[in-house]
């Protein structure tokens, strides 16, 4: 069962997304801010990380950079989630080291498509 780390500060979003992913068969662990997210990402092995970008303590871009730095050669797919649907966020997220990007509100099917694509690529 693929293990996903969901880094999201908003309680409702966290609850909703984790429940929906769980029902789709993922094992979901949660972090509530950037700092905790980095700690968990470095301490555990996840198959994929869903990273909100506007986080307290440490924003998603910086958190992503730290995870990448901490992991060195190891590559865990990270999907950036942001409420800012404006163009530019995607580039910023990619520049910070994310593998893909999705806007909130989450369209579950679209997100699942992106998750599966990355997991498949990771397995190859």
């Amino acid at each position: 069962m693929p293990k996903i780390l969901l880094v999201e500060d908003n309680e409702m979003n966290r609850d909703m997304l984790s429940r929906r992913l769980t029902r789709k068969g993922f094992e979901v662990e949660m972090a509530v801010d950037g700092l905790q997210g980095v700690q968990m990402a470095l301490a555990n092995r996840y198959d994929l990380i869903l990273m909100d970008m506007s986080l307290p303590e440490l924003d998603g871009w910086e958190a992503t950079r730290r995870v990448r730095e901490g992991h060195g050669d190891r590559h865990v797919p990270i999907i950036a989630l942001t409420a800012h649907a404006m163009s530019g966020d995607r580039e910023k997220a990619m520049a910070a080291g994310c593998d893909d990007y999705d806007t909130k509100p989450v369209e579950l099917d679209r997100l699942l498509g992106k998750i599966n694509a990355l997991l498949v690529r990771g397995e190859r």
Binding site: N10, M12, N13, M16, L17, R19, R20, R23, S54, A83, H84, A85, M86, S87, G88, R90, E91, K104, P105, V106, L108
Partner: protein, 982 residues
């Protein structure tokens, strides 16, 4: 004996006298003649000579008893009696008018006339004694200027030897009188000159025109001994004379205006030659305006300066006995030029006075505070607006130092710098704060201007315009704008987060209710979901539009495959197409790749397609994509979305692209949507230098076409916003890309040509918003920024650039007509150049930011003045020069340039010289670059330790002449570069 003929009746009579022997013996006569000659020769004046002649001839040895000597008055032609013997009742200076008397005859032919019997002559009056008379002319050359009259009361009293004696005496007299007259003329001329000089001296002191004119006239009448006169000045504007002074001509003619040619003065004004009129009342040319004057003869003369007519004056005699003659004209010719100059001076002075008064009025009533200073910056005067602005009275401030008076602690140095700059270089405009008398501060725009009189700097003038209100308004507007931006950012987050939950939970529950066996609840949950999504779309659109309008929308340009992008869009829109039972036809030609903002283009296509879906039911929607050549070069892509829907009227189309304007208000309720989609689509298209057009007929469906350049980065600008025409396509350059932001197409073109010739690539933007978008898209090497632009001005652009962490590092060169250096630097400009731009200066400045090649010398110096000085000095020696304002910037510069030498200041902000040197030595490839420290400070032991031998030399600022500095640089380079030096 006979009496002189033709004396008027009533004139005094001569009594008959006894006949004396006319002639004595010859030797006695000879002796008498010699005595006569001696006396004539000894006589000092005309009058004495005349007396000597008649007295000499009265000598008993000669025996003449009745004698008279007349001289001719040239002006009147009268014979005037100068001396006589034997005519006891005749008055001195008795005049015989032309046409009267026997003594006139020699005047006509210059010959002696003998009349043996006067009673036989015409005009002989019987009441007078009868006898004989000899009339002898007095001649100078051929000109008769007098006559000697000798009478006898006997008939036939004179013989031939009498004629010889009298002729000899007349000749002697003529010579003596001629000489005396000559001397007298000279003396008189000298006197006249003196009089004229006196007049001039007097008159030149009088500069008030009215008084002067009266004085001139008085002087002229005195000088010429006339009864009256008048003076007119010439008015060039109306081409008329105006009488301005008048004296004793029987009327007050002041104010009379005469056309050229009218009356005596008008005549003279036209001919510019003096005129003498003997009998004014008989003169044909007289003006009706002078019908009642009481004058007899008139002389008028022009007042000329060179050939220019200044005025005319006329002099008059009321005595019929007096005439004007050549002497008067001569005198007038002496006097007139002096008078003309005096009048002209006075007129100029009066004009200057008026001018001065005019300007004083302007300054006094100006709403702008004006203060004038002497060369030592002390106040000379100020106007009421200045008093009001600063609360000082003029009396309090005169003599005080302006900068000490109104500058504040913080603006003191700036104010002093302005003053000095004005004195040294010229006008300065600046914005700053000044202190009022009560200590309160006021925001002012300052204009300092040097005051030069005939090239000599005599002081300066300060103009202060109170801009507190403007500044306050601007501050408020900026605060409001920033509050709005902040609000938008917050709203984005705050609104979307709960919406996220609404949409997400409804979706989730919908899935769950089906699984849990309550499918009847699903439609309600779908309604919640759909309403949430609509709300989200609204929020997104409003945010997009607000961002566009705030100039905060950014372009992210990337290259992508057009067909792939279209495929993606089609997939996304498919559910919406199906919803109204529509069919989507996609026709994509050979479109290849394009460079544009992918996200925005997708959004634009989705907007058009979803509109088409909404307004069409069970119809066909066609998406066509084509690539074509553009007339002006380059390629463009056309995206056409056609539907078979309800269509629009022209009136509806006109409002189509306005925000919040759906074709009808009711449309919104029927078809949904925000009404913002098309407005956003068009704005996006314009940002990418394209556009959206529409064609439609009601009931026939609509066709929307998006037109975009195939390479958006090849063009810049937001065509929707007041630019002035085409914006040139970006060019490549090995020195890097410079972004030119200027609303003036000509200015951009000039800069482009210059920059390209310098090896830079150039991108252009015709306004602030497109400029910012391009800066974000292109990350240019440097930006040149015009200050005065419509809409978003240069200051706002500069602030926005410096507020964006990704753009803040790009050097910005402000180019402006206005001299607001201090404001420019305060806002973070790297350089501030005045328009028109000095190309040499621009080349030097840009040299710092070049990407390409090696530069010879890198100057690391924070003080702009010193930096510029060094740049100029080294550039003049043919070195390529780059500069950096601190160590950090210098390290960045080294990434692009590898200089042959670094000139390093020590005390700098951000990263000082010691730190820089340390960093420099850390990198392998920079370790060999020689470094010369150029510092104003004495190096401490600590400094030396920190430099750690990492530099090749330490030079004291100001201690070296430029030659020494250059030699030092030469030597260091020669030492470090193999075969180096120049």
């Amino acid at each position: 004996m006979k009496r002189r003929a033709a004396a008027k009746p009533g004139k005094p009579r001569r009594k008959p006298a006894a006949r004396k022997p006319v002639n004595g013996s010859a030797p006695r006569r000879q002796a008498a003649l010699l005595r006569l000659s001696a006396e004539i020769a000894a006589a000092p004046s005309e009058a004495e000579i005349c007396r000597a002649v008649v007295h000499g001839l009265r000598d008993p040895a000669l025996g003449y008893v009745f004698l008279g000597l007349f001289l001719v008055d040239e002006a009147s032609g009268d014979r005037v009696l100068k001396a006589s013997i034997g005519w006891p009742d005749v008055p001195e200076e008795w005049r015989v008018h032309p046409g009267q008397g026997l003594s006139e005859r020699p005047l006509r032919d210059g010959k002696l006339r003998y009349t043996p019997d006067v009673t036989r002559e015409a005009g002989y009056l019987p009441s007078l004694n009868s006898g004989s008379e000899v009339d002898v002319p007095l001649l100078i050359g051929e000109r008769v200027f007098g006559v000697l009259v000798v009478e006898s009361n006997r008939k036939n009293a004179f013989r031939k030897n009498d004629f010889e004696i009298l002729t000899a005496a007349a000749t002697q007299a003529s010579i003596a009188l001629g000489r005396a007259r000559l001397l007298g003329d000279e003396r008189r001329r000298a006197n006249e000159q003196q009089a004229v000089l006196d007049t001039l001296a007097d008159l030149s002191g009088e500069l008030e025109l009215g008084k002067l004119l009266q004085a001139v006239l008085r002087r002229a009448t005195t000088l010429l001994g006339v009864s009256g006169g008048e003076l007119a000045i010439f008015d060039e504007a109306s081409n008329e004379l105006e009488v301005v002074a008048s004296q004793q001509i029987g009327v007050d003619s002041r104010g009379t205006r005469l056309a050229l040619g009218e009356g005596a003065m008008g005549h003279v004004a036209r001919s510019k030659e003096p005129i003498c009129i003997a009998e004014y009342h008989e003169w044909m040319g007289q003006s009706a305006k002078y019908a009642s004057v009481d004058v007899h003869s008139v002389m008028a003369a022009p007042l000329l300066i060179g050939h220019r007519l200044v005025g005319v004056f006329a002099l008059t005699h009321d005595d019929p006995a007096r005439r004007f003659g050549p002497d008067d004209i001569r005198l007038l010719n002496l006097f007139a030029p002096q008078a003309a100059v005096a009048i002209e001076n006075a007129r100029l002075y009066t004009a200057a006075q008026r001018q001065k008064q005019y300007f004083e009025e302007l300054v006094q009533n100006s709403p702008v505070a004006v203060v004038t200073l002497d060369n030592r910056h002390n106040i000379v005067s100020c106007n009421p607006a200045f008093e009001q602005l600063y609360g000082y009275s003029q009396r309090e401030v005169i003599g005080r130092n302006l900068d000490e008076l109104i500058s504040t602690e913080s603006s003191r140095s700036e104010a002093v710098a302005i003053t000095q700059h004005v004195l040294a270089e010229g006008a300065v405009r600046s914005i700053g704060q000044r202190r009022r008398r009560d200590g309160s501060l006021v925001d002012v725009e300052v204009l300092g201007v040097p005051v030069r009189v005939e090239g000599e700097l005599v002081g300066l003038m300060g103009l202060y315009h109170d801009i507190s209100e403007l500044t306050k308004a601007r501050r408020t507007a900026e605060e409001a704008n920033s509050a709005k931006s902040q609000f938008l950012a917050n709203m984005s987050h705050e609104l979307r987060t709960p919406l996220n939950a609404i949409i997400g939970y409804s979706e989730m529950v919908e899935e769950e209710v089906s699984e849990l066996g309550h499918p009847e609840l699903a439609p309600d949950l779908q309604k919640i979901q759909s309403a949430g999504k609509h709300l989200l779309a609204l929020i997104n659109d409003i945010l997009d539009l607000s961002k566009i309008e705030a100039g905060k929308t950014e372009l992210y340009l990337e290259e992508f495959d057009v067909a792939d992008m279209v495929g993606d869009v089609v997939t996304t829109i498919k559910p919406l197409v199906d919803k109204n039972g529509n069919t989507l036809v996609v026709e994509v030609g050979t479109v290849g790749r394009m460079r544009a903002d992918l996200t925005k283009l997708r959004q634009m296509l989705l907007n058009l397609l979803s509109n088409a879906c909404k307004f069409t039911e069970r119809g066909t929607i066609t998406l066509q994509v084509n690539r074509s050549q553009v007339a002006g070069g380059g390629e463009e892509l056309l995206f056409r979305v056609r539907d078979s829907g309800i269509g629009m009227t022209p009136a509806q189309m006109a409002k189509l692209f306005e925000a919040f304007a759906q074709a009808e208000a009711s449309t919104s309720r029927r078809y949904g949507g925000t009404g913002l989609g098309l407005a956003i689509t068009r704005r996006f298209a314009q940002m990418m230098r394209g556009d959206v057009n529409v064609a439609s007929e009601p009931g026939e469906g609509s066709s929307f076409t998006i037109r975009l350049p195939a390479d958006v980065s090849a063009v810049g600008g937001d065509g929707g916003d007041g630019g002035d025409g085409e914006v040139g396509r970006p060019s490549e350059g090995k020195a890097g890309m410079v972004l030119v932001i200027d609303d003036d197409a000509d200015a951009r073109d000039l800069l482009r040509r210059f920059l390209e010739s310098e090896g830079f690539g150039v991108a252009e933007a015709d306004g602030g918003e497109p400029g910012l978008a391009l800066a974000r898209a292109l990350k240019p090497q440097a930006i040149t920024l015009d200050v005065l632009m419509p809409g978003m001005d240069g200051w706002a652009v500069l602030s926005a650039l410096k507020a964006d962490p990704e753009l803040a590092g790009i050097p910005v060169l402000m180019l402006s007509m206005l001299d607001d250096k201090s404001l420019g630097f305060a806002l973070g400009a790297s350089e501030y150049l005045s328009k028109p731009v000095d190309r040499e200066r621009l080349r030097q400045v840009l040299g710092r930011y070049r990407k390409d090649g090696d530069c010879d010398v890198l100057i690391v110096e924070d003080d702009p003045a010193t930096r510029e000085l060094l740049e100029r000095l080294l550039a003049s020696e043919g070195w390529a020069v780059a500069s950096a304002e601190n160590g950090r910037v210098a390290l960045e510069a080294l990434e692009h340039h590898t200089p042959s030498l670094i000139l390093l200041d020590l005390m700098m902000p951000v990263m000082d010289g010691c730190e820089f040197a340390t960093e420099l030595r850390r990198r392998e490839r920079w370790r060999e670059i020689p470094v010369i420290v150029l510092t104003a400070k004495d190096l401490s032991a600590e400094d030396r330790r920190r430099l750690n031998g990492g530099v090749q030399g330490v030079l004291q600022k100001g201690a070296l002449s430029r030659e020494e500095l250059l030699r030092e640089i030469h030597d260091r380079m020669a030492a470090s570069v193999p075969g180096g030096g120049r």
